[in-house]
C-alpha cells in the first residue's frame, strides 16, 4: 500500500474534473485521479454545443436562459442554482475561448450560435440561437482544451487509478472527508490519498441500460461510492433518454442536427412533432420528443421492417451543411448504419443518455449529508452531481455548461477550503474496505459470470424502466435487479492477476451499476406522477401537490442488498411559479 498527501484530490478527468483541476491546481497542491486517460472521458462524445446568452447573432439574455432551464426541467429545478448557471454561462464560454477553444465563428468573427431544444426567446416565443459550438464536436473540443490547459498548468494526473472508496473521519460535528482510496490498474496496488478536500467528477451511469449513448466505462462509480458511505443520492428516477440515438445502437446523433433544421418523421413521412409541440416542433425539450417518438412507435407509426424506429430527415440541409456543421454524425450514420444522411433519412430511437440526479450538492459543489448539512471537504460536480440545475429533464447543451460552471465552482471551493484548513487525520485502516472488496472479487466463491448479470440487468432496465414506465414494469425491474444482486454475491472472474486486471475492474463496476439501478427503480416506483424524464403511463399527469419535491435516497446499513430509505427535499423557488408545460 502507498500513501500520498495532497491538499485537493479530484476524482475523474472529464470536463468537470479538469475544469475543477485548472482552478484548484493554481491555488493548492492538487492530484487528479482517473480510471482512464484524461482525454478518454465521455465529455468528448458531447456534440452539439454549450448554451450561453452571448446574444452574438440575435437578441438574448440570461434570464430567458434561466427560465428555459427551469421550464425544461419541469419545475423541479432549484431556481437559485439555474440562475447562477445561466448568468455564469457567458463567462464560462468566454473563458473556454480564451483557453483556446476553436468555436465556429460568425461572419464578423464572433462565436457563432445555433438553435437547440427548449432554448427560446422571451419565455417560449420561438427558438433562439444560444448554443455556442465547434462543428458537432463541441464536447471533444472542450475536453481537449481543458486537458491542454491542464498540461499548461502542470496539473498532476494519476492515470488508470480507479477510486473505490473515500475516507470519512468522524468528528464532533459529523463526518469530514479526509481522502480517497484508489486501486492502481497497472500494478494492482492500493493507494491511500490523504487530502483536505476531495472532488467527485466521475460522470454518469448509463450502462445500467442496454441502449445507451454512454461509454462502457460510465458505471456510476462516484455515485455508488457516496451511496455506500450512507450519504444520500438525489432524484435518481429522472434519467434522460436522448431522442436521436442511432436505431438499435444508441450512438448519439446531436440535437444540433434539428437545431440546423433536420426534421423527425414517422413511417408515412409525417412531421409528427407538429402534433406534440406546435410552436417549437422538433426543437421541443428531449423528454417531450422522446415520449412522442415512443408513442409513434407504440401506436404503429414507426418506420422500418419492424416499425420500431422513426426517421431523422437531414436530406434537405444539403451536403455542405452536413459536412461542415455536422460532419461527425454524418460519418456515424455512414459507418454504423451504412446510411448516408445527405441522401436518405437516418433511423433513430431514444437512447439512455444522462442522469439528472446524482450526489446532492449546493451551488458551491459541497456535498450534502442530509437536507441541511454538508460533509466538509467533500465536493461533486458534473453529471455525478445534482445541484439541481436540470430538475426532471436537462435541456440540451446544459450539461457542457454544468461541468464548466460547477466544475469551476467546485475547484475553487475545494482549494479555498484546503487553504483554510489543516489535514484531519484519516480514519483507522482507511484501505480496509477496498482491500476486502478486491480480495472478495478475486476469491473463488461462485460461478456467476459478470457479463451474464450485466446483460440481464441492461435488458430488464431497457424493457421495464425506460421512456415509459408503469407500476407493473417497475415492479418487474425491481424484482429482476434484486435477484441479480443476489447472484452478484457469487460472481467469479477469470483473471486473478495484479497487472491491468480489467476483468476485476468490470466486476467492481457491475456492483455499482446494480446498486444504482435499484435506486432508480425504487425512486420511479415511489414517484406516482409523470414529470420530465420520468413518464408513468399509469400516472400520466404532473402532480405538484404531492410530488413537487426532490427525492433523497439513503442506503440503510451495509452490504449490497441493504434497504433504501426514501426521503424528500423541497425545491427552491425564486421567481418562477410552476405552469403547465407547453411548447
Amino acid at each position: 500500500m502507498q500513501f500520498h498527501k495532497y491538499d485537493v484530490v479530484i476524482i475523474g478527468a472529464g470536463g468537470a474534473g479538469m475544469r475543477a483541476a485548472i482552478e484548484s491546481g493554481q491555488r493548492a497542491r492538487t492530484a487528479v485521479l482517473t480510471k482512464l486517460y484524461p482525454t478518454r472521458s465521455h465529455t468528448g462524445a458531447a456534440q452539439g454545443g454549450m448554451c450561453a446568452a452571448l446574444a452574438n447573432v440575435e437578441e438574448d439574455n440570461w434570464e430567458w436562459h434561466t427560465f428555459d432551464t427551469i421550464k425544461g426541467g419541469d419545475y423541479l429545478v432549484d431556481q437559485d442554482a439555474a440562475e447562477i448557471m445561466a448568468k455564469e454561462a457567458i463567462d464560462a464560454v468566454l473563458d473556454l475561448e480564451k483557453m483556446g477553444l476553436p468555436f465556429n465563428r460568425t461572419p464578423e468573427g464572433k462565436i457563432d450560435q445555433r438553435r437547440f431544444g427548449g432554448h427560446t426567446r422571451n419565455h417560449g416565443e420561438a427558438a433562439v440561437r444560444r448554443a455556442c459550438y465547434a462543428a458537432d464536436r463541441t464536447g471533444h473540443m472542450i475536453l481537449q482544451t481543458l486537458y491542454q490547459n491542464c498540461v499548461k498548468h502542470g496539473i498532476e494526473f494519476f492515470n488508470e487509478f480507479y477510486v473505490l472508496d473515500i475516507c470519512l473521519t468522524e468528528t464532533e460535528d459529523g463526518p469530514v472527508c479526509t481522502g480517497a482510496v484508489a486501486y492502481e490498474l497497472a500494478t494492482g496496488e492500493i493507494h491511500v490519498f490523504h487530502a483536505k478536500s476531495v472532488v467527485f467528477a466521475t460522470g454518469g451511469f448509463g450502462k445500467v441500460f442496454k441502449t445507451t449513448s454512454n461509454a462502457h466505462t460510465l458505471t456510476g462509480d462516484g455515485m455508488g461510492i457516496v451511496f455506500r458511505k450512507g450519504l444520500p443520492l438525489e432524484d435518481m428516477e429522472f434519467y434522460q433518454f436522448h431522442p436521436t440515438g442511432l436505431a438499435g445502437l444508441g450512438i448519439l446523433l446531436t440535437e444540433g442536427a434539428r437545431g440546423e433544421g433536420a426534421i423527425l418523421r414517422n413511417a408515412s413521412g409525417e412531421r409528427f412533432m407538429e402534433r406534440y409541440a406546435p410552436t417549437i416542433k422538433d426543437l421541443a425539450p428531449r423528454d417531450i420528443v422522446a415520449r412522442s417518438m415512443a408513442l409513434e412507435v407504440i401506436e404503429g407509426r414507426g418506420a422500418g421492417p419492424n416499425k420500431d424506429y422513426v426517421l431523422l430527415d437531414c436530406t434537405h440541409l444539403g451536403a455542405e451543411v452536413l459536412e461542415t456543421k455536422l460532419p461527425d454524425i454524418t460519418e456515424f450514420a455512414r459507418t454504423y448504419l451504412a446510411v448516408d444522411p445527405v441522401k436518405e433519412p437516418v433511423p433513430v430511437y431514444p437512447t439512455a443518455h444522462y442522469a439528472m440526479g446524482g450526489i446532492p450538492t449546493n451551488v458551491h459543489g459541497e456535498v450534502l449529508r442530509d437536507n441541511d448539512h454538508i460533509v466538509p471537504g467533500l465536493y461533486a460536480a458534473g453529471e455525478c452531481a445534482c445541484v439541481s440545475v436540470h430538475g426532471a429533464n436537462r435541456l440540451g447543451t446544459n450539461s457542457l455548461l454544468d461541468i464548466n460552471v460547477f466544475g469551476r465552482r467546485a475547484g475553487i471551493a475545494a482549494a479555498e477550503y484546503a487553504n483554510s484548513h489543516d489535514h484531519v487525520d484519516l480514519p483507522e485502516n482507511p484501505a480496509k474496505v477496498v482491500e476486502e472488496q478486491v480480495a472478495l472479487v478475486l476469491s473463488e466463491h461462485g460461478h456467476e459470470r459478470v457479463a451474464d448479470i450485466r446483460t440481464e440487468l441492461q435488458a430488464t432496465m431497457d424493457k421495464n424502466a425506460s421512456v415509459y414506465r408503469t407500476e407493473d414494469t417497475l415492479k418487474q425491474a425491481l424484482h429482476d435487479v434484486q435477484a441479480l444482486k443476489e447472484r452478484y454475491q457469487r460472481i467469479t472472474v477469470q483473471d486473478k492477476g495484479k497487472r491491468f486486471n480489467t476483468d476485476l475492474l468490470e466486476a467492481v463496476e457491475l456492483g455499482f451499476l446494480l446498486e444504482l439501478a435499484e435506486v432508480l427503480v425504487v425512486g420511479a416506483l415511489a414517484r406516482k406522477e409523470s414529470r420530465g424524464g420520468h413518464a408513468r403511463e399509469d400516472y400520466p399527469n404532473r402532480d405538484d401537490t404531492n410530488f413537487m419535491r426532490h427525492s433523497m435516497y439513503y442506503k440503510q446499513g451495509e452490504g449490497l442488498s441493504a434497504d433504501i430509505r426514501l426521503d424528500y427535499k423541497p425545491v427552491t423557488f425564486t421567481r418562477y411559479q410552476p405552469m403547465e408545460r407547453k411548447y
Binding site: 483556446g100 472472474v493 477469470q494 486473478k496 491491468f500 476483468d503
Partner: protein, 260 residues
C-alpha cells in the same frame, strides 16, 4: 489456446445464444502478459459474429465469454475517445470503428482477423500498451494556446477563414494510430511522431496564438519534423480522416520559410 497459471479453471457457463445471420470467424490475437509469460504468443478464438459487429464487439465476446484475461482498453465504442487503437489485419485502426463486414474473406472462405497491439510503444499486457511516451511527446510541443498581453473582455475575434485554417488538426483524439504506424517512430522512439506534430500544427496555424516560434524551435530539433519521410502511413491510419502528412509538410514549410 494456452492456459496460464493466472487463468482460473472454474467453469465458464454456456455461451449466449447465437443471433440470426451470424457467421463464424477466427480471431487471432497477440497475447503477452509479462507477469506470467516469457514470450508473446498467438491465441485463436472461433466466435459467432454479425457482419454489422464492430471488432470491439468480437473482442468483448472473447473477454466476456471465453477468456477474461484478455486485456485491452476501450471506452466510448464509437470512435471518439481514442482508447482502442490496435493493429487489425496489419493496419492501425480503432476496434470500435471497423465493422466485420469490411473484413470478410471471399465467399466460402473462413474469415480470420489478426489483432495485435500498436507498434512502437512498450506492451503492458496483450493489446494494452504504455501510452506515456506518446503523451510525453504531445506535452513537449506546448499543446495549448500561447498569448501575451492583456486578455480581451469578450472573445478574441477570428475570421471564418482563419478558423478554417487549422480545422483539420483540431479533430485529433490522441489515439496514437498515426504515430504508431510511422516506420520512423518504430525505429527511433525519440522522434516526436505525427500526433505531436498535428497538435503543434493545430496551434501554430491558429491566428489567436503567439507561440508559433517556440513550437517551431522545438520541432526544428533533431527529433522533430525533419525525421518525417513522408510515407503517408499516418494519414492512412488516422480514424478521424486528418490529413496528417499534409499537416507535417505545412509545419516543415513554416520552418523553411519562417512564415505561417
Amino acid at each position: 489456446m494456452t492456459a496460464t497459471a493466472e487463468v482460473s479453471t472454474g467453469s465458464r457457463g454456456a455461451q449466449p445464444p447465437v443471433p440470426d445471420g451470424a457467421i463464424t470467424v477466427t480471431l487471432k490475437i497477440r497475447r503477452f502478459n509479462p507477469e506470467v509469460d516469457d514470450e508473446p504468443r498467438w491465441d485463436e478464438f472461433e466466435i459467432p459474429a454479425l457482419p454489422s459487429d464492430r471488432v470491439l464487439n468480437l473482442l468483448h465476446y472473447v473477454k466476456w465469454y471465453l477468456d477474461g484475461t484478455l486485456t485491452f482498453r476501450r471506452s466510448c465504442a464509437h470512435g471518439i475517445c481514442g482508447s482502442d487503437a490496435m493493429r487489425i489485419n496489419g493496419v492501425n485502426r480503432l476496434a470500435c470503428k471497423v465493422l466485420l463486414k469490411d473484413l470478410l474473406a471471399p465467399k466460402g472462405k473462413q474469415t480470420t482477423i489478426t489483432i495485435e497491439p500498436i507498434k512502437g510503444l512498450p506492451v503492458n499486457k496483450d493489446l494494452l500498451v504504455d501510452m506515456e511516451p506518446f503523451f510525453e511527446a504531445f506535452r513537449a510541443v506546448k499543446p495549448y494556446l500561447i498569448t501575451y498581453g492583456n486578455e480581451p473582455t469578450r472573445e478574441r475575434i477570428q475570421s471564418v477563414a482563419d478558423r478554417e485554417r487549422f480545422d483539420d488538426t483540431t479533430k485529433c483524439i490522441l489515439c496514437a494510430c498515426c504515430t504508431t504506424s510511422c516506420p520512423v517512430y518504430w525505429t527511433e522512439g525519440s522522434y516526436f511522431g505525427p500526433a505531436a506534430i498535428v497538435n503543434a500544427h493545430r496551434f501554430i496555424f491558429d491566428s489567436r496564438d503567439e507561440g508559433a516560434e517556440e513550437r517551431l524551435d522545438i520541432l526544428n530539433d533533431i527529433d522533430g519534423v525533419w525525421r518525417c519521410r513522408t510515407t503517408f502511413n499516418c494519414t492512412d491510419a488516422c480514424p478521424r480522416g486528418i490529413q496528417v502528412t499534409k499537416a507535417i509538410q505545412e509545419v516543415k514549410r513554416a520552418l523553411l520559410f519562417k512564415r505561417i
